[in-house]
Symmetry: C2
Subunit: 112 residues, 2 copies
DNA sequence: CAGAATCCTTATGGATACTG
DNA sequence: CAGTATCCATAAGGATTCTG
């Protein structure tokens, strides 16, 4: 499911590469949530009501494998904890996400 | 399949609204192609090798129904012609598409 | 807690033939 | 030319149970 490979299509349409990284029912919401700081698996799950652990894992794995997020883990009283956070690379995407968000906010404002 | 309805998720994550408009295997490429001007059904089909007429119709219908594109048609020697072009609303999305494209171009440049 | 495993439903896309 | 109609394949997502 990794989208890190380039493709002829993406040379014709560079926007496609970026889109593929952030497409998926929950990816944008994960990335959006992490803008305010790292979060563990459970926190993300709570922040995204309705997502199943399998799907959350799938999306996180894709984001990690595409280099946008990094995962860390540690033990506390014999219990595993994890944290997902932007990589430096992933962080460069935030202004782009903001552009997407601002556009939609402007559209909504214009309608009202 | 219209994504024009707002949703609670999109208030938490405004970027999601924009993403939904341009997600789909060919949507970005259609929008990218039309940046250089309107195009008919056949031209788009040729510009997107591998797309089937059904799927092209689906994507165009979605883009029109979401208000990003407009469709016009006319007759010439008893043969139907069509043209798809940005609406004024859709055109406001072009800078956002450019942001997506520029980001991917920068990443590719950085890798090399 | 953080997932892996399994099974299942739905959404998306595709090939092809046909029509006004 | 510009699609529709039909049938089909795969991908994406989801519910649930289980494990270190």
């Amino acid at each position: 499911m990794s989208t890190s490979q380039l493709d002829l299509k993406m040379i014709d349409c560079p926007a496609l590469f970026t889109i593929q990284l952030i497409s998926g029912k929950w990816k944008t919401r994960i990335l959006w949530h992490l803008r305010s700081g790292a979060a563990g698996f459970g926190e993300l799950k709570r922040a995204l009501p309705g997502i199943s652990p399998k799907v959350l894992t799938q999306h996180l794995d894709a984001l990690v494998s595409d280099g946008l997020l990094a995962r860390s883990q540690w033990n506390e009283a014999n219990v595993i904890h994890s944290a997902y956070d932007y990589t430096d690379y992933g962080r460069t995407l935030i202004p782009v996400l903001d552009a997407l968000g601002n556009w939609s906010a402007n559209q909504r404002a214009a309608v009202q």
